[in-house]
Symmetry: none
Subunit: 233 residues, 4 copies
DNA sequence: GATGAATGAGGGTTCATTCAT
DNA sequence: TATGAATGAACCCTCATTCAT
């Protein structure tokens, strides 16, 4: 015998009204409004009324979906973090030509981190870090930190292949990242630069950064391979 | 020529009570109170009453010296910037052993930039940078940027002495700074680290950073000198 | 005439679903939820959501049965009054030994009126009496007032039997009630006492109160009967 | 030598502007507004906006004088309590004719406790007693309880003079008070009576109450004295 | 008819700014 | 000129009520 009237609680496939705080469309709508306001004004200066207006939902609805202002902000930052760091590390998965891979990765990283949107998000997190330090910590841990681990893994593989010689891989990974952002990150975050760096700038910085990095850590074998490569080309 | 007017407003010119909003002592007093409060709590959380109390002046007086909270904050940041970067670059003035000088400078820079006080000040500026972009820009321009110029000058001197070979000195100066802060700055500003790095950590980072830098940019002559040095020692 | 229409709305007329706001079971269910919440929290602090949860019905349903929060509260108080004063006066129905009957009745009355539940209900009514004066009036009229009438009837019977001599029976009935509650009611309702009086306390108060009452209103005949009674015992 | 410029902080006899939260006129103004609103609506239903309007001061000013709504309410109740019970017990200080003194005192008490103003204040306290039980307790303790002690002292003096014979003076004092309020207090507080009792009603209740009390507790000596008194009159 | 998600007015409280003293 | 008491708009959040489902 076929179940004809499925318990609606268990099998809610119908397009009926979602439970309170469960409608993903509404949730996204609120987050989107919150994004505009928080990113634009920072945590403190953003008012729930602003968000209400921007999101096009009522105050009460926001408070059904999010416990309070802080939780809404945290949810937004989580989202933002996910968006920012998504796909950033894929290029490290396929080990190809070392220098080329580092440059490609570095350019992606640098472009992303210094893009207007991402800078603004980071500023918001930094600005709120005094009030909600765990938030900043979590952002770093699940974003930059995770990327850092990927870079370390990549460097370790290069070491195993005899292309790099590094004593302190952890530190080297940081150095690599910083070299790719040399000068750009701080300029952007302090709004000394009001526009994101151009692709050309980024290429210049990253190419040079990778060069420094490889001069410091590249092995004889790596140099020989590069020379051989260059000659065949 | 002698002022003859008996207008009491002008009498103040002679050592009497300064004109409204003109007494530099009072101004300093206000800024000092503002420093404690703003740095401690951040821009939004700081209340004018707190500052009033901390500065030991009345609300009205503050508003004579500063248009509003934002302007007071800007004035403070200007001051703070001066304090932070004061003396940071002295070590570059006396050209000594290259590696040693770079390490000493790098450690001073890194320790300063990542100290709790300075991190908090930077967070506050960054957090306000969306609302007051010029503030962040000015902070960077007269702080980090000026330091950057000093580093460039130093590198140019090393180049002239034949110790370094650098194509893009501007970029190299950034690279040097970033290498000295590798991993630390972002961790601090996002409050992933809740405490300033220890002296040992800073030494490890800077020593390695200088090493990378010199491997990338040191000339044969520099290497020879270092070897000679090491042998005599 | 037979209803022929197949309109499903009208089918409900036959024992099916009751008309909106007419199902007495559901009504009782709502009142029961409201009781728990209102008595526990007081009128203002009670939220319709609490009642919704406690009653196990939806918000909309409550608003079908009751115009608004205030009307629901009034309905509850009506009910509550019935419950409180139910059975309180039975002991007066069987005229037995006068002193004994008065003590038994007085103790029941005193225990009931000062019980935690009832005190809270009375507080809630009193607290709302400014906003909804009729509510308090109705509560008194159908509760204490009705009891007062019963006491008067009882006293009149005792007068007829020659046991009491009272000029103003109405007033004497009040005096009797107050003597049974001496000190307790006000202490409870102002929450000077946070717990209901013990049985022993109540006995002490009521015994003494009845004694005062009988000394004031007992006839020579009553005294003689009591003496006789005591001697046989 | 005479102090000519008294330190204004120490000797502020001038009629200058009072310190924040220190102006007794403004404080009284706020309390007066609060009285109207709280007494009229009860604690919860009263809004600070209402009080603001009624008191004719700004919201901020209220919060300078009182920490929060609850403290304002408590301050009001303290005031109210003071006003209510002031002078109520003076009549007990001069021991005169026993019955006469008791009647005079009882009538003052009864009239006061059942006056419209005082009933409303008591209702407000009772209504808030769920939320702020200590407040009700304090009100009772410093008001009715203190009066109760005065009555006990008076009764003890009468006992010493051989006019009364009482085993449990504490209880007897409560009984006396309740007899003076017989039926009135509860009727008023539940707003069954919407108007305060007339002087005649009060006289009737109190005269009868005192009579009951003296019949129960008066000594032979007291009766003899009264008889003697009556004959001379 | 019943539901409960959504609404938005209004709650208590804070604080940058003003202006009488 | 300096003061700080007073202001009131704006803050975050709650909850009685409505109405689409």
């Amino acid at each position: 015998m076929v179940e004809t009237t499925a318990d609606s609680d268990l099998l809610d496939l119908r397009k009926g009204r979602p439970a309170a705080g469960q409608d993903p469309v509404k949730r996204a709508q609120i987050i989107e409004g919150a994004r505009r306001v928080f990113i634009d004004k920072g945590f403190e200066a953003a008012s729930m009324n602003d968000i209400t207006r921007e999101a096009g939902v009522s105050k009460g609805t926001i408070y059904v979906y999010f416990e309070n202002k802080e939780e809404l902000f945290e949810a937004l930052i989580e989202e933002e973090r996910g968006t920012i760091f998504k796909n950033m590390y894929e290029v490290l998965d396929h080990f190809d030509d070392l220098r080329h891979t580092l440059v490609r990765f570095g350019m992606g990283l640098s472009a992303k981190i210094t893009s207007a949107k991402v800078i603004q998000a980071q500023r918001t997190v930094v600005g709120a870090a005094d009030r909600i330090p765990e938030l900043g910590a979590r952002f770093y841990e699940r974003g930059p930190k995770r990327g850092h681990d990927k870079v370390m893994a990549f460097l370790n593989e290069a070491i195993e292949r005899g292309l790099l010689k590094i004593d302190d891989v952890d530190l080297a990974a940081y150095q690599f990242t910083e070299l790719c952002l040399a000068g750009l990150f701080r300029q952007c975050i302090f709004s000394y630069r009001t526009k994101a760096p151009t692709q050309a700038e980024i290429e210049r910085v990253v190419t040079s950064g990778v060069d420094v990095f490889l001069k410091a850590y590249g092995t004889a074998k790596f140099l020989a391979e590069e020379r051989a490569h260059a000659e065949t080309a």
